[in-house]
Amino acid sequence: MPTDIIVTDNLSVGYGSIAVVDHLNLRLAPGTLVALMGSNGSGKSTILKTLVGLIRPVSGLVTVLGHAPGAYPAQVAYVPQHSATSETLPLRARDVVAMGRYARLGLLSRFNRHDRKVVDDAMLTMGVTSFADKPLQSLSGGQCQRVHLAQAIAHEADVWFLDEPTAGLDAEGRDTVTACVDAARERGACVVVSTHDIEDARMADVVLLVAKEVIAQGSPKEVLTDANLRRMYGFTGQH
């Protein structure tokens, strides 16, 4: 495993040739928790999608686990925003959590005892066991979010990308997410979280304030100042 799990050098992220956020420079070691903070449309999800390998960088360099993003899907867990997921198919919560093993299993392998145990443990951790056999479409937004986070836990990944993981969760759910992220960091996983919540950002090792550009980057104490926050929200407010 490389020293730094995620490295970006003058990275510009965006769609096609249009940059959304420029000049992103990161070196993230194992066990680091990074909070991307910004208002809606500030570019947080675009940064996450670029690091996951879903969209190509506009320019600059980026490596995840020493390779191009997307090279090792089994080692990377991604939880998209809840609003970007669909519950049309009558899948049970358990089926959705089990999908966290798909990247490791591929198309042809079947679930073994270890896989089933990992899925059961992930459901227990996120407190979704009691509704494991209910269809996803019958669950509340917060319960669905727990299911998707349980899927990320079942992934057993070295890098986690969580897009607004605490959105829609109650206080207990937020505490559970925090505990899971801490457990992942303790075993060396690097966790990148996008959030609107300043309290979530305070718990991170590194905070990036984003508003179509990187406004500030560093420890929560350095970054989460009134001046930076005003600049962040003020920028978006002009549009």
């Binding site: 879903l54 519950e87 198919l89 990247a103 209910k134």
Partner: protein, 134 residues
Amino acid sequence: MLLCISRDLARANGFNASLYEALMMSVIGVAILASFQSVGTLLVFGLLIAPPSTAALVTRRLHTMMFVASASGVAATYSGLLISYHHDLAAGASVVVSATAIFVVVFVASTLRQRRLSGSHPAVAHVGGHHHAH
């Protein structure tokens, strides 16, 4: 299944979403083309929708649902053709009426079972875990 949740999630897990979407569309296209021959152009949608809807009433396990949907489709086709042969009716329409009749029977049975369970265990029925056949 990942594709049904989120296209991005499927891609993030290393699967070629475009390829699998194309495969899915091709399979549906082939199923529709094959059904054109047996039930006709309009009734094909009845045969595509009724058996999976029936299966969704009796189970929440996806693999079981696929099996029940197939079995229901086969049963509807067989019984529809028998009815058509013995009563000199249009084969396609008979098949789709059979598929719909199976759905209606299962729906009524499922609803009655749900009501009976909600009568004896109102709290359990309220959370919706009552008509799942385990």
